[in-house]
Amino acid sequence: MNTVIRRLTGHLARGLAMIWVVTTISFVIIRNIPGDPVRGQYEKLIEQGMGPDQAERATAALYGFLPTGSLWDQYTGYLNGLIHGDLGQSLSTPGTGVATLIGSAAKWTVLPVLGGTLLSFLLGVTLGVYAAIKRSGKLGDALAISGSLLHGVPQYVIGLLVTAIFTTLWPILPAGGPVDIAFEPGFNAGYLVSLVQHATLPVLTYALASYGGWILAMKSSVATVLGDDFILAAELRGLKRGVLFRYIARNAILPLFTILALSLGMLFGGAIFIETIFNYPGLGLLLVNSIGARDYALMGGTFLVITVAIVVANIAADLLYAVIDPRVRTGGAA
């Protein structure tokens, strides 16, 4: 355990440094984005039929509390806020804290990302084992190629195809939104069913988009383990197929767990396409919308949260490794 704790402290320090750098970079970039939230709001009001004067005054009132001061002051203010857990105020949803917005978006990202990733992980790992064992067969080949193909194709292609199929050609699933409002939120059948129905397509897309990667990773991992001496040795000791399979699976899956942790972190940022296509109100969509609205605070906050997710995932991946691999855990040479 000592090892784990020492690793953790080291990682935390490095992770914090990393977050600080990323925060600073994003701050600088974001403050240099052209486009003025005030003008955007103004034109929006005009389109809604408000008179030009009225729109002007309304926007002035709305943005009376835009960040002011020199860039440096804003920066220190921002950092200071961060340290106190304050991500600032949203401009596009005035009066609401960025943290609140991110919090409510995050829960919608977590659901399909987690679902999709776990689904694809299970699927990919199972098929990957199969592909490795049937390496030279036709089916194994097909699995490997389809895996590479799906792994190579970008998420949005899959998302668009899935949407086209299930909402246009064969409309059996809702095309967007997180859940039907008709149901009282909570643990009632209607709500849960609706939740699942709405999440199905995004989850399916995540699953399809990443399962190919899992197949490939698992295939090569299994192939490596199969080549390891201890598997042959175990076979020569007459171990049962089930036991043998567990030997292979556990050893092969070990490196994949770290990738799993990492990809969960990455997916927070990668959800952009899927959430846009399915209009799913998660972090990705929040980021896209915040950029459209030039909501600096929200943009910075979302970016920060996505970064933190990655850093945390990195740390988690490493610790996970340390916990489940005895070679690391007990501090021996691997």
């Binding site: 007990t330 501090g331 040479a333």
Partner: protein, 332 residues
């Protein structure tokens, strides 16, 4: 002529936080390699042989002590100058499979250092070509066959010869051969050993031979010196034949006892020294380093460390006694 005095080396264990023990690979080793001479280091796994070889070849730094090459102490020199000296010492790796770049032909492999050499000596390109053939012939292989080929097309023995030829391109004074025959088929081992011996005689290169198989030491040169090293310390040293036939340190005797007897051809020696327990780096290093495993240890051994004594055949033991541990010929 290369001499080393009091060479120490400690590996700091990094990254591995729990096992954060430092490893003392060398604890003050003295040695001297005469021009054209042969020096062999033997010892158990992990006792610092490779480390020493790499230090001598300039591929590894050392913590203290001094290496003097042809009268010039290395510690006073700048990195670049030191490199120039160390170029005279060439390391021949244990594994001939990884010692050659699989993507380059033997021709390309030999040409690179020779071209450099030609430039340094103001010779022509043709000289480099000629020299490559010469060297291959010298190590006993057919240049015509070998030059255009890739390493994977050669056998282990051939590769090891190519590796030696490559080392010879810079006209070294010392060849450091680290376990150079352990990965080569039995039937070919003697060939390499004979080659090294031959090179000593013909080119007047010295050979620093590192092995855990003492028998091979005899074939590099019976006029050579043998150093028995244990946990970074030289425990016995002397002319090869003398040490082999009359070992006095229990560790040397244990090593020699462990060598399998070729029954049918040889008979085992009358006595045999078997260590009382296995090597463990965690053993205390107060007193004699071998004490824990020594069947003949006394109280003194556990508190005081013997140092290598004298010149010629010397040892670091409080209770030296010759024992008949080596096998004798069956016919005798």
């Amino acid at each position: 002529m290369i001499t080393g005095t009091g060479i120490t080396k400690t590996y700091k264990q990094r990254g591995n936080l729990l096992g954060g023990r430092d490893v003392q690979a060398l604890r003050g080793v003295d040695f001297a390699i005469e021009k054209g001479g042969a020096v062999t280091f033997i010892g158990e796994s992990g006792c610092g042989k490779t480390t020493l070889g790499r230090i001598v070849a300039g591929l590894e730094t050392y913590d203290s002590g001094e290496i003097v090459i042809d009268g010039t102490p290395m510690s006073g020199l700048r990195h670049r100058q030191r490199q120039a000296y160390f170029r005279r010492v060439q390391l021949i790796h244990q594994d001939p499979y990884s010692a050659l770049n699989p993507t380059r032909t033997i021709h390309q492999t030999l040409h690179a250092p020779l071209a450099l050499r030609a430039r340094q000596m103001g010779r022509s390109k043709a000289w480099a070509e000629e020299r490559a053939r010469e060297l291959l012939t010298l190590v006993g292989i057919d240049p015509g066959y070998v030059l255009p080929r890739y390493p994977h097309q050669l056998s282990g023995g051939m590769r090891q010869r190519v590796v030696i030829a490559r080392a010879l391109t810079v006209d070294p004074e010392v060849l450091v051969a680290d376990e150079s025959v352990s990965m080569i088929d039995v039937s070919l081992r003697l060939g390499i050993l004979a080659l090294l011996k031959d090179l000593r005689e013909r080119l007047n290169v010295s050979v620093l031979f590192i092995t855990h198989d003492i028998a091979t030491a005899r074939y590099i040169g019976d006029d050579g010196e043998l150093y028995v090293i244990y946990r970074g310390q030289v425990v016995e040293r002397g002319p090869t034949e003398a040490v082999i036939s009359g070992p006095v340190h229990p560790y040397t005797q244990a090593l020699l006892s462990a060598i399998p007897v070729l029954r049918g051809v040889e008979r085992p020696g009358a006595e045999r020294v078997v260590p009382t327990e296995a090597l463990d780096e965690r053993h205390a290093d107060t007193g004699c380093l071998f004490a824990r495993r020594c069947p003949f240890r006394t109280e003194r051994c556990e508190s005081e460390r013997p140092s290598l004594d004298g010149t010629g055949h010397g040892h670091a033991c409080f209770h030296p006694r010759p024992r008949a541990v080596i096998p004798v010929e069956a016919s005798a």
